[in-house]
Amino acid sequence: MIEVKGLCKSFENKQILKNISAVFEAGKTNMIIGPSGSGKTVLMKSIIGLHPIDTGRIEYSGRNLPDMNTSRIRRLRREVGMLFQGSALFDSMTVLENVLFPLEMFSRKVQEENIERARFCLHRVNLSEQVYHLYPAEISGGMQKRTAIARAIALQPKYLFCDEPNSGLDPKTALIIDQLIHEITEEFNITTIVNSHDMNSIMEIGDNIIFINHGEKAWQGSKNEIFHSTNKDLNDFVFASNLFKKIKNSKQ
């Protein structure tokens, strides 16, 4: 579980995040949604500690991140997996080597066991053996995302962060990636936080949804509650498309 309390973040006098508090529970897909430029990525990177914050608490199962020194942050990060917007695979390594990398870096096991674990993870994200020895540049965007997920779960993280996991993917592949994240979250009881502005994935996998607008938390609830919300900004954002407007009207 991750608890954020009164988080503020600014870049050179420009305040991006204003007093954000939220609880992200384990075993649930927590989604941060909001229009472009609202501060989703900054919020996510602040929670992981890639951006130093101005004030606030970020508690990982009670451990406050802003209080930690570098070496404690590094130790905490071994419990964290992250899926980046552009996959961020190491392009000098093959698919298998990418997944093997965190294992070789941190696990105290012998190489055979590491390889077995890497293969298990790649198998879990439904990648076929044929691509294991290809380089990231040689596989499709969807496969890159899968590889990145496999790498993120290699060390059995307690916390998983995904920054727009399905940007740049076709709707069907996007759905598969979303469901994969959702399944893994429940299967391994991970605290997952997903950034998205894709309505399909919000409706598909959003157990707990936090709506960010102009750097403020404007709304929080589940995907079913979205339809009954009276928050104007949220409705403007969610029901921008006619299709979703129709669905909302039919539900009411």
């Binding site: 890639l50 071994r78 992250m82 917007q85 962060f161």
Partner: protein
């Protein structure tokens, strides 16, 4: 102002770089790759440039000093000392700043903008140490060899002038390059080259590591790396020469 800030940032980065690696095994896996990339792959350009400069210097020295009063060894001596003192260290490093510096800066810069460095940090890895230490170590370790090779090949270049033209006889040339040889010059040159190798690799890594934006910014970072490391090389050349030769 920016100079002060960047200098501070540079030293902070170096403090992150020079610590024990998470896993020595991973360091020693990177090192040979870097030795190959920065050493072996620089060899062709080092050889080509050195042989031509050696030859050209011999021809020019000879033609510009057509004076019967000058002893026969003067041409070989001038060629040798120029190679030993300046060319095979300073000029060679300025050239390598272009080749090696830009490749380090663009490699690390690309990793930065494609979030590969963030990915390392998220895994709890000291990315500066993991990426930069093998590069600096490899380049500093390989540099003396490149310098020695450059000196040797440069002298051969001069010799070839004697063989293939009648500008100078090989006998005169050989006397010249052995006359009044000062081994300390080689030591001085190697010392300089070690400092320059450190400057090239660390400054390039610095600009790559702090690249921000898109592909265009990686280009800017690598240009900045080459320009600034060249200026630093010239400055330290002056400093070390003052310290070691006067």
């Amino acid at each position: 102002m920016w100079l002060l800030r960047d200098t501070g940032k540079y030293f902070l980065l170096m403090r992150k770089v020079f610590v024990q690696p998470n896993r020595w095994k991973m360091f020693f896996r990177q090192l040979p790759l870097e030795l190959e990339k920065q050493g072996l792959q620089s060899l062709p350009i080092v050889i080509i440039i050195s042989v031509f400069i050696g030859a050209i210097m011999t021809i020019q020295t000879k033609l510009n000093t057509e004076n019967p009063m000058l002893p026969v060894y003067s041409t070989g001596l001038v060629t040798r000392d120029t190679l030993l003192l300046e060319f095979s260290s300073t000029i060679l490093c300025l050239i390598l700043a272009g080749k090696v510096g830009s490749s380090i800066a663009s490699e690390i810069g690309t990793m930065r903008i494609t979030e590969q460095i963030d990915a390392l940090e998220i895994m709890g890895i000291n990315s500066a140490n993991y990426l930069i230490l093998p590069k600096i170590s490899a380049f500093v370790a390989i540099m003396p060899f490149l310098v020695i090779i450059s000196m040797a090949v440069g002298l051969i270049g001069g010799y070839l002038v004697g063989v293939f033209s009648d500008i100078i006889t090989t006998a005169d040339y050989l006397v010249g390059i052995q006359y009044a040889f000062i081994p300390y010059y080689v030591f001085y040159s190697l010392t300089k080259s070690l400092v320059f190798a450190f400057i090239i690799s660390s400054v390039a890594a610095f600009y790559g590591y702090y690249a921000y934006g898109g592909a265009l910014d990686v280009g800017t970072a690598s240009t900045n790396a080459v320009v600034n490391s060249s200026v630093l090389i010239l400055f330290f050349n002056l400093l070390i020469t003052q310290l070691m030769l006067s």
